[in-house]
C-alpha cells in the first residue's frame, strides 16, 4: 500500500477527558477512508489534528512522509501537499456571496488570474447546480445549498488531501447521494486522498475504500467495507446494527438501491 497519511499513537485530551488515546491509522494515496463512530467520540478532533487546527498531546502525523504534528499550529506545515477541509457546519463567510466563498481560496492563496478563477468557479457552480445561487449570501441559502457551496470551496483548489467532516448532514437522500457521487467522481478525476467522517451508514460505504471505526479513543476496526460483515468485534456489530446497517443493506440488496 502506498501510504500517504500515517498516524501513530495520536493522543488528545480536553481537561480530564481523553478524546484520542493512541490513534494509529494509515491511509493510502488516492483512497477514500471513512471514519465512523458514535457522536462525540472524537472523529472531528482527529480531522482537526490532521489539519493542524488542534495540537495533539502526543503522537505523530505524517503527510507524504513529512511530520506535521509537531509543527506550529496553523503554520504551512503541509507545504508541498495541498489540502482542504470541509467543515461540519460549513464555515462559510456570511459577508461573501456563494461565488465569493468558493473563489476565496483561489483569490487568497493561488497565483491564478481573475479570469481563470472566474471560469473555475463558474464550472464548479454549474457542476453543483448552484448557478442561480451564485450571487446569494449564505444566509439566503438553504442548508443543502450551503453544504454544496462548502463542498465546492473544498474542491476548487484541486487539493491532494480533502478532509470531509460530515459532508452530507442535513441533506435529503437525493442530494446526499449526489454529494457522495461527486466526491467519488472528483477523487477519480483529480486523485485526491479523502478522509471522511460520516454517519450515513451504509451509503457512505459505497464510495469508501477503507472504513475505520473510532471507539474509546482508538481505531478498533480498519478494513474494507466488505470486511465489516465478517470477523468484526461484537461492539462494532452493535454500533452498525444501531446505525441500521444490516437492515439498510438488506433493503438495498432487495431494492437494488445504493
Amino acid at each position: 500500500m502506498d501510504t500517504f497519511l500515517k498516524i501513530r499513537g495520536l493522543k488528545k485530551h480536553f481537561g480530564e477527558t481523553r478524546v484520542l488515546d493512541g490513534v494509529d491509522l494509515e491511509v493510502a494515496r488516492a483512497s477514500v477512508t471513512t471514519i465512523i463512530g458514535k457522536s462525540g467520540i472524537g472523529k472531528s478532533v482527529l480531522l482537526k489534528c490532521i489539519a493542524n487546527l488542534l495540537t495533539p498531546d502526543a503522537g505523530e502525523i505524517e503527510l507524504a512522509g513529512k511530520s506535521i504534528a509537531r509543527s506550529r499550529r496553523g503554520s504551512k506545515a503541509q507545504d508541498g501537499v495541498s489540502f482542504s477541509y470541509m467543515f461540519q457546519n460549513n464555515a462559510l463567510f456570511d459577508s461573501l456571496t456563494a461565488f465569493e466563498n468558493i473563489a476565496l481560496p483561489l483569490l487568497e492563496a493561488s497565483h491564478l488570474k481573475k479570469a481563470e478563477i472566474r471560469d473555475k468557479v463558474e464550472a464548479m457552480l454549474k457542476h453543483l447546480e448552484l448557478q442561480d445561487s451564485a450571487t446569494r449570501y449564505p444566509g439566503e441559502l438553504s442548508g443543502g445549498m450551503k453544504k454544496r457551496v462548502a463542498l465546492a470551496r473544498a474542491l476548487i483548489t484541486n487539493p491532494q488531501v480533502v478532509l470531509f467532516d460530515e459532508p452530507t448532514t442535513g441533506l435529503d437522500p437525493e442530494r446526499k447521494f449526489s454529494v457522495f457521487e461527486m466526491i467519488a467522481d472528483y477523487r477519480e478525476r483529480f486523485g485526491f486522498t479523502a478522509l471522511l467522517v460520516s454517519h450515513d451508514i451504509p451509503e457512505v460505504f459505497e464510495i469508501s475504500d477503507r472504513v475505520a471505526w473510532l471507539d474509546g479513543g482508538v481505531i478498533k476496526f480498519f478494513g474494507k467495507p466488505s470486511e465489516l460483515d465478517a470477523d468484526v468485534e461484537s461492539a462494532l456489530s452493535g454500533f452498525l446494527s444501531k446505525a441500521n446497517y444490516g437492515r439498510s443493506k438488506q433493503l438495498n440488496t432487495e431494492g437494488n438501491g445504493i
Binding site: 487546527l53 477541509y85 457546519n89 464555515a91 476565496l104 487568497e108 492563496a109 483548489t157
Partner: protein, 258 residues
C-alpha cells in the same frame, strides 16, 4: 489581598504583552496578503466612514457645551475673550483624541469584536487556516492599518467641528466677538498641540483596535461562556478594556508631552 492584586496586575501585563504581539503579527501578516488595497478600503469604510456621523455629532455637541461652560467660567474673571483659546486647546489636546477614540470603540470596536467572535465560533477563522490564509493578517491587519489613517483623521474632524460648536454658543448665542474668537483659536494653537493630539489619536487607534480584535479573535479562549454569550462577553470586555486603556494611555502620553 496583596497576592490577589499582584496576580491581577501580572495578568494585565501579560495580556497587554499578548495583545501587542497579536497586533504586530496581524500587521506583519497583512503585508503578505493579496488584494491589500481592497481589504484596506473595506476596513477604512468600517472604521472611518461609518464612524464619521457619530464622531461629527459628538464633536458638535461637545463644542457647544464647552462654549457654554467655559464662557460662564471665563466671564467671572472678565476673560471671555479667551473662549477661543480655551475651547480649541481643550479639544485639540485632550477631548478630541479621547472622545473620538471612545466613539469609535463604541461603534466599530464592539462590532469588530462581535464579528470576529462569531467567525471564531462558526469556524470561519479555522477555515482560513486550512486555506493557508493567515487569519490575523486577513481579518485584523487591514483594520489596524485603517486605524492608523482613520483615528487621526476623525480626531481632526472632531476638533474642527467642536471648535465650530464653541463658536456657535460663544459668538452666535452669547455674543463673544467672532473675530476675537477665531483670532484666539488661530494664535493659541501651536503645531506641538496638533502633533500631540495626532500622536494620541494614533496610539489610541492601534491600542483599541488591537484590544477589540484580540478579544473577538480569542473568544474561544478568553470568554467564560461558549457560543453567543461568549461573543457578547468578548464584545463587552473589548469596549470596557479599550475605554480604560484609552484613558490610562492618555494620562501617560500627556505626561510625556507636557
Amino acid at each position: 489581598m496583596i497576592r490577589t492584586f499582584g496576580r491581577s496586575a501580572l495578568g494585565v501585563v501579560s495580556e497587554l504583552g499578548e495583545i501587542s504581539l497579536f497586533g504586530l503579527a496581524a500587521l506583519r501578516g497583512f503585508f503578505v496578503q493579496r488584494r491589500r488595497v481592497s481589504k484596506l478600503t473595506v476596513a477604512v469604510h468600517e472604521i472611518g466612514v461609518r464612524c464619521f456621523p457619530i464622531v461629527a455629532t459628538v464633536g458638535l455637541f461637545t463644542g457647544l457645551v464647552m462654549g457654554l461652560q467655559l464662557y460662564y467660567t471665563l466671564v467671572k474673571f472678565g476673560a471671555e475673550s479667551a473662549l477661543g483659546t480655551a475651547v480649541a486647546l481643550s479639544l485639540i489636546r485632550e477631548l478630541g483624541p479621547v472622545l473620538t477614540a471612545l466613539m469609535v470603540v463604541g461603534q466599530a470596536g464592539s462590532a469588530m469584536a462581535s464579528e470576529l467572535g462569531i467567525q471564531r465560533n462558526d469556524e470561519q477563522i479555522d477555515a482560513l487556516q486550512t486555506m493557508s490564509v493567515d487569519p490575523k493578517g486577513y481579518l485584523v491587519g487591514p483594520r489596524l492599518l485603517a486605524a492608523v489613517f482613520c483615528f487621526p483623521l476623525l480626531t481632526a474632524i472632531f476638533d474642527l467641528i467642536g471648535i465650530f460648536g464653541g463658536y456657535l454658543t460663544g459668538s452666535v448665542l452669547l455674543n463673544v466677538d467672532a473675530g476675537v474668537y477665531w483670532n484666539r483659536v488661530y494664535e493659541s494653537v501651536s503645531w506641538e498641540d496638533v502633533r500631540g493630539g495626532f500622536i494620541k489619536a494614533l496610539v489610541f487607534g492601534l491600542l483599541t483596535i488591537s484590544i477589540c480584535a484580540y478579544r473577538g479573535f480569542n473568544t474561544h479562549r478568553k470568554a467564560s461562556f461558549p457560543g453567543v454569550r461568549g461573543v457578547s462577553e468578548s464584545a463587552t470586555r473589548a469596549v470596557v478594556w479599550s475605554s480604560v486603556t484609552v484613558l490610562a494611555a492618555d494620562y501617560l502620553i500627556t505626561s510625556f508631552l507636557l
